[in-house]
Each structure stands twice: as structure tokens, then as C-alpha cells.
């Protein structure tokens, strides 16, 4: 069976073997293949000489360039921190208005703040900071705990209902579920709450709602429903809603209660970064006002 044949097309001989009709030519390996084998091996050899490559028993060949990725990173981090130092110290030292008055610093706040906000806050509050169902807008006039730079920085530091030992704490009771109010009473007081931002003609129902509100809600939201920033109780007289101001959302809120959650950033973002965020947010809000 070992009969070598010549392939008429290529002129090459077969190896003389045949498997289920398949034969092989004994063509020699093309020069180009050997050339590229040589090139890739030469390249590898050069890299081996230059870079850390081969393990020895307790160490490894360091390479002529003495490059080490860990040292490279450490140097790069030191360098980057040095480059930041001049402006990050300024941001730490200056009050918010001072920062934005300096155009060079303002540019840094805008660029760094955009990225910090995108990677840390936008997941909940949205890239445009306009919030969404359950997550407050940071560009409107309504603030649970206060919207000045210092208050925002404190909220960032400790979070809301977070695991931080000094966390801000706020909870709305589940008035319906816990049996404090009947379902009808919940509906009535919901109508009253809606009338605070959207005035309705006086009616018996609203009077009853006002009574329920005074007895159950006013302690946190205030007699007039204007909220209380010390307690993180939202203003109910404005047009801004976190969980929605329609009948169904309001009923759910009053019936089941609410307890929003924001992480504490003290251990995750530096003071400078938090300050940049606070100033950045302030700017976004002013932009939205304009």
C-alpha cells in the first residue's frame, strides 16, 4: 500500500499512505513559514533578555530593563498624586464659592466631578442627576436634608439609613400595614396631602384629612406639611415627589411606609472627592435653574 504517487496538479509526491481515500503530499515546509518561525522566536528571545521571564529556584530573571509592574504602578500613583496635589489642596482649603470663582479649579471640579458622579452616584440618581422613581432628583429645589454644600458633604459622608455609626436616619411608618390608620383613612389623608400642592375647593373630606394629618403626619412633616430638614422629612407642599404624587403611589407610601437608603461614602471617597461632588452638584443645580 505504501506507493508514492505524484500529484499531477502540484508535481509533489504523496507520502505513500492512504486513509479512507485521503492522501498527503510530502511538500516541504514553505520558506515563509520557517522565516516567521524565526522572527517570532527571535522576538521572544529579545523579550526574554529584556523583561522578567524565567523562574529560577527562589527568584526569577529580572531582565536587562529591570522593569517590574508593581514598581511601575507605585511610581505612576505617586506621580499622579503629585500632579493633583496643587489643585486638590486648594479645593480642600477654599470654600465652595471660592472654588468656582477660580476658572482653573472650576474646570477641574467639572471634569472630575462628572466622572466621580458617573461612577458613584449615577447608578441611582441618573447620569443627569435628575433621579427616578424612588431616587431623589439632585437638580430640583427640594432637598430632604438641605442643599447647601456643607450639608451635602455631611450627607455624603454618613449616608442615609446606612451602616455608618453617625448615619442620618429617617423612616416613614407603615400607617396602613401597621394598623395605625384604616384603608379609608389612608385614602382620605392622601387626598388632603395632594391638596397641599394642588389646592382644591374646601370639602368635608379635606377637613377630615387635615385632622388625620395633624394627628399622624404633622410631627415630622410639620403643621403646614412643609417638611423638616432636621428629620429628613420631605416637603409635601411642593410639586416634587420622590415616590410619586398620584393616588396609587401616595396610597402605597402611606400604607407601607418608606425608608430610603443611601450609602456612606466616608471610607470610599476622599474628603477632596466628596467636596468636588458637593460643589459639582451645586453647579448642576444652578445650571438646571437657568
Amino acid at each position: 500500500m505504501s506507493v508514492k504517487e505524484r500529484d499531477p496538479l502540484t508535481g509533489h509526491q504523496t507520502t505513500g499512505h492512504e486513509w479512507d481515500g485521503i492522501t498527503e503530499l510530502n511538500t516541504r515546509v514553505p520558506r515563509a513559514v520557517w522565516f516567521f518561525v524565526f522572527v517570532t522566536h527571535l522576538w521572544a528571545l529579545i523579550v526574554w533578555v529584556l523583561m522578567p521571564t524565567w523562574p529560577l529556584v527562589t527568584t526569577y530573571t529580572k531582565g536587562l530593563l529591570k522593569i517590574d509592574q508593581r514598581e511601575e504602578v507605585e511610581e505612576a500613583v505617586i506621580e499622579a498624586n503629585l500632579a493633583r496635589a496643587d489643585w486638590s489642596e486648594q479645593i480642600e482649603a477654599l470654600p465652595a464659592e471660592g472654588i468656582m470663582a477660580d476658572p482653573a479649579l472650576a474646570l477641574r471640579v467639572n471634569e472630575t466631578g462628572h466622572q466621580l458622579f458617573g461612577d458613584n452616584c449615577a447608578g441611582c440618581h441618573g447620569l443627569d442627576a435628575a433621579g427616578g422613581p424612588g431616587f431623589p432628583s439632585l437638580t430640583d429645589a427640594a432637598w430632604l436634608w438641605g442643599g447647601d454644600t456643607d450639608t451635602i458633604m455631611e450627607t455624603l459622608r454618613v449616608g442615609i439609613n446606612s451602616q455608618h455609626s453617625e448615619t442620618r436616619f429617617a423612616q416613614m411608618l407603615a400607617f396602613g400595614r401597621d394598623g395605625i390608620l384604616t384603608r379609608d383613612q389612608v385614602r382620605v389623608v392622601a387626598d388632603y396631602v395632594q391638596s397641599l400642592s394642588n389646592p382644591q375647593p374646601a370639602s368635608e373630606r379635606l377637613v377630615e384629612g387635615a385632622e388625620i394629618f395633624a394627628a399622624n403626619c404633622a410631627s415630622c412633616h410639620g403643621e403646614d406639611g412643609a417638611g423638616n430638614r432636621d428629620l429628613g422629612a420631605p416637603n409635601l407642599t411642593d410639586a416634587f415627589w420622590i415616590y410619586g404624587g398620584d393616588d396609587e403611589s401616595l396610597f402605597t407610601t402611606i400604607h407601607n411606609g418608606r425608608k430610603g437608603w443611601m450609602p456612606a461614602w466616608e471610607d470610599r471617597l476622599s474628603l477632596t472627592e466628596r467636596k468636588i461632588l458637593a460643589v459639582y452638584l451645586h453647579e448642576r443645580r444652578q445650571e438646571a435653574d437657568r
Binding site: S2, W19, G21, L25, T53, P55, T112
Partner: protein, 550 residues
Amino acid sequence: MMSSLTATERSRAFMITMTVLLGGLVMAAVGHGDPIGMQGWVVILFTAVVGVVLLKSFDAPDPVEDRSASYYDDPTRVGIIIALIWAVIGMGVGLWVASMLAWPNLRFDAAWSSFGRVRPVHTSGVIFGFGGNALIATSFHIMQRTSRARMPNQVLPWFVLIGFNLFCVIAASGYLMGITQSKEYAEPEWYADLWLVVVWVAYFILYMRTLARRNEPHIYVANWYYLAFILVVAVLHIVNNLAIPASLTGAKSYSAFAGVQDAMTQWWYGHNAVAFFLTSGFLGMLYYFLPKRAGRPIYSYRLSILSFWGIVFFYIWAGSHHLHYTALPHWVQTLGMTFSVMLLVPSWASAGNALMTLNGAWHKVRDDATLRFMMVAAVFYGLSTFEGSFMAIRPVNGLSHYTDWTVGHVHAGAMGWVALISFGSIYALTPVLWRREAMYSWKAVELHFWLALSGTVIYVFAMWNSGIIQGLMWRTYGETGTLKYSFLESMIAMHPYYVARALGGLLFLAGACVGLWNVLMTVRHMPRHAPERDYPTSSEATEPAVPAAE
């Protein structure tokens, strides 16, 4: 089908099935309250179905045909059909997870449908379900043909095929229950891993015994590749899955490796799974079906040797390129990078050998979609091996790593190379296996080819774009030296490409459905036609392995 087994073989098969069923019962009993209990029920159900199939022809008379006059093809036939069914399942789930990435609400808020559980169903479904069954089935065919010998045993091939599919079913159902050991492409837990070792050793024994019975003096190249696939996958599987079960009555286990050693072991496995599962075995397929279909001799036997030993030697070192710029020591990264580049020429030598083999048969490539499947597969093989070596270079990897470029690269290989060579081989094999004149519809093969090719091209281009944009966005600095984009913005920029990717996947899946339909119609409706000389030679007819004098 089972009636071609003798009564002894049937009862042996039944005993094995019942033993596994008993194992399932034990898992269900001791694992009550743990996911392993549910897995026990999966095993019971699976083996019960196998048992019923066996019992249906249990009392049939012994077959009378002369075994030495034919190859044993029943397991190959079943394997081909199962492979195509897995292709539809795996690619269907792939389309789902791709759509989930574009429209996240498509997960319908159930625990089992979360991305992290469904994605491994896709990866295992296509790699092991489709690829694995295609490999096992074609290897059964090729090892017999190129040895001109029948398999030594009729129960063992069934054990390998059905046992392997039991592993696939345990794996896929386990993922949906949340069982995983968090090793990519090696997610199944310890009991499934142990079972696969048993099946794999049986596979190795079967292959070696068939080769030992060969009536050809030399072993054909395809067999080298299949053997490398079987042997190295066994080693990879065993080492990477070394673990201590938290309890023998629970699914959870703890890996024998920790920290960076764990990462290195995982990617040594992961990369060589690509090398020896997704490359070596499929090169075996290519080396048989391409010259067979083209009717041309292999371009160069010497090139085959160069590329085989090059691939086998260099691939094993390359895994650490998955861990560039990580806690892995720098010198391991350099080794991985340089060996990945040295690997390029042997890989291209295989692709080149395949394409040069087509010289003198290009008119067939033009006219015959089956051969065109194989030709394009070889092109994509060359393309993705070049891309792989390129991405393994550290600075390039700094841009490409963790981006969709990696996903695109994998799919250029998985769709363009692995799936296309499998489909081409299946179309070449089906008429031979079922003794049919031709495929039921050559137009459907042509349609499948264009669906698969356009699907792959759309997919890969979408991911190249997406990956490079992603990589660049992550490293773009603003005027003040801070990063310009947040991660979320890069996600939003990806959306159109994710939609395009899902479209590419849809086309590819449609092609697989056409393929399954075409194979089933061929089996059912095409007239019989016996291929020439498709039977083993008797051993007396061959000359001795070493000719007396030459």
C-alpha cells in the same frame, strides 16, 4: 437501534444505567434540602428515560449481521442529532442573554433567569453540548474510517456519548438552580466533575483500543489531534477541578487553590480548553472532512507535523496572558505573552495547510456550500489565532482586556471556526452515515451558510467596535488629567452594538435551526444509497507496519 446490541450487551447497558440511576437516588435521598437533591432527581429522570429506551427492545432477537463487515455508526448518528439539538438550545439561550444585555428587563425578575445563571447555560450549551457532541460523534466516525477498523465494543461508545450528555444536563440544570463553582467554563460542581472523569477515561480507552485494532500502518493526522484533545482535556479537567466538597451530601465544594494560584490554574485550564477542546479536536475534524470533501491530498504532511507539535507545545504555556496587569508575577505574564506569539506560526500553518489543500478544488468551494463552510472555518481559524496572539501582547491587552473585544474574539473563533467546521462536517457526514444520496436540500445548506456567515460577521464587527470604543473610553483623560467618562457612559455607548450583536446571534441561530431541519429531512425522506468501500478491511489484507525492505 438498540436491537443491534446483543442480549448480553443490552443487559450490560441496562445494568450500567440502573447503577447510575441508583447514584441519582442516593443524591436525591442524602441531599434532601440541598440543591444536590434536585440534581439527584435530574439524574433519575435522565437514566429512567435511557432505561425505558433500552427496555423497549430488550427482548429483540440477537442481531445476525457480521460485525466485521461494517463500522459501528449508531452512536455517531445519535451524537450528530444531539449535537444539533444542543446547538439550537445553546444558541437560543445565547440569543436570550445577548438580548438581556441590550434590554435588561428581559430577565423577568425570576431567580433562575438572572444573567449569571443563564449565561453559563449558553457557554456550556454551545461548547460542551454542541461542540462536545459534535467532537465525540465525528471522532467515532473518523477513528474507525482512518483505522479501517470497527470499534472494539458496542456498549462503551454509548456509555461515552450518553454519559457525556448526562454531564451536560446536570451542568445546565445546576446553573439554573444556582449551582456553580465560579470557574469559567468549569462551573459544574464536584459530583458532576467526578462523573465526567469516568466518562472521559472511558472515551480515552475506547479511542486507544480502536487505534490498536487499526488496519493501517500509520496513524492519520486527524487522530493525533483527537487524541491530544482527549488526553489534555482530561489533565486540564482534573487539575482545575481539584476541590474538597464542603459535605458529601451537599453541592458546595472549595477549590484546592486560592488567590493568584487559583486564577493561574483557572486560566491555564481556560486557555487550554480553547486550545485542546475548541481547536485541537476541531482540527481533527478539518483534517478528515476537508480533504475528503475536496478530493485533494493534504497539501503538506511536513507542515502537519510542524503545526501539530507547535500547537501542542506552545499552547500549554499561553494561559497567563489572561492575567496581564494583575497580581500574577510579571515574569509569568512575559512567558505567557511570548509563547502566545510563538504559537502564531504553527496555528497559521494549520490554516494554511487547509487552504492550500483546496488548490485544485476551488471550483468546488464555489459550488458546494458544505466545502465552503470548511474553507471559511479555516479562514476564521487563521483570523482568530492571529487576533489571539496579538491580544496576548501586554500593551495591546491593556486596551482589549475586560472589553467586548474579548467577547468578539471568542465568537470569531467559536462561531466562525468551531461552529462552521462542525456544520460543514455534519453536512458532509450525514449522507454517509445514514446511507443517503445527498442532503435533503442543498439550497438549505446554502441558506445556512449565508445565515451563519452574515451572523458571524455582524456579531464580530459589533463587538470589535464596541470593545475598542469601550477600551478607549475607559482610558480617555480630560484636560485636567482626570478620566473623561464614567463606566455608565461607556455602557450607554455600547447599546447599539449590543442590539447588533443580538441580531447577529439571531441569524446564526436561524441557520442552526435550518441545519437541524435539513438533517432530519435527509434521514426521513432521502432515498438510500450505499457509499463505496465504507467498511473495515480485514486485518490479513494489510501489510506489516514496518515494510520488510524499502
